[in-house]
């Protein structure tokens, strides 16, 4: 008998060998519930984090534009100051 046939015979023996029975239903459902809780918590953390980041971004953006607006008026005040000086003369 060549080695390939012997390997085939071993494979057949293993296919026909009894397999231990398992009973995992309870464990599986428990793990699924745990994973779902973990997923929900991480989603909540993500949502809170996103909301905080968005609020911070909004505040910083508003401050940036308000500061820019003030600077934009500055040259005009110089112009008016110059005009006032000319008028006084």
């Amino acid at each position: 008998m060549n080695i390939d046939k012997q390997l085939d015979r071993l494979a057949l023996q293993e296919r026909q060998a009894p397999v231990p029975k398992t009973s995992v239903a309870g464990m599986v459902l428990q793990t699924i519930r745990q994973e779902q809780v973990i997923e929900l918590r991480s989603f909540n953390r993500f949502s809170i984090g996103t909301a905080v980041a968005a609020a911070l971004f909004l505040v910083v953006t508003m401050q940036f534009f308000s500061a820019r607006d003030a600077a934009a008026y500055e040259p005009e005040s110089y112009v008016y100051a110059d005009l006032d000086a000319e008028m006084e003369q």
């Binding site: 012997q6 085939d8 293993e14 231990p20 239903a25 599986v28």
Partner: protein, 192 residues
Amino acid sequence: MIPGMDKTVEQDEQDKEDVVSSLRGDEEAYTRLLRRYEEDIARQMWRFAHDRGEHEILVHDVFVEAFFSLPKFGFRAPFAHWLRRIATHVGYGFWRQKGRGRKIIHLQDPDSLAGKPAPEKTDEGISLFGLLEKLNPEERLVLTLTYDEGLNAKQIAERMGWTHIMTRARLSRARKKLRTIAENAGLGKELS
């Protein structure tokens, strides 16, 4: 046809109904699916681990993985085939992790599963499982799928998402290595 998985059309319909209900959060429906296929999956996972504790954890992992993959099921193939595919990937991942020497972390305590009696030896000292254990995970997988499920290179490639050429090369290399390992184990001399 895949042995042990020759489900009737009626069973396919039941599977579809249970999958839909499971997706809606019906735990009982998923339990029905689990009980329907637990024996088939246990048989399949026995090829990946002959330690009873590891075997039970693998069966557990297949059904957890399947539950979270249900939204991707798509109803294109029978549930049994889809589940078998997931089981193969779980088993292959187990071998790869084991090969890297990493401790596999599970939510359940594996210690609670340890201490169960070891399985009986099926052969006169040499088992195919023992010979295949000496190969790397890729080679071991292609031969396990060939010997135990009768898949050819094309079918293995489809199941694993590998290219056909790569799978054929792996299969050929694995066969050569297995012959050498078997000869070194005295298989040729023993029965010739």
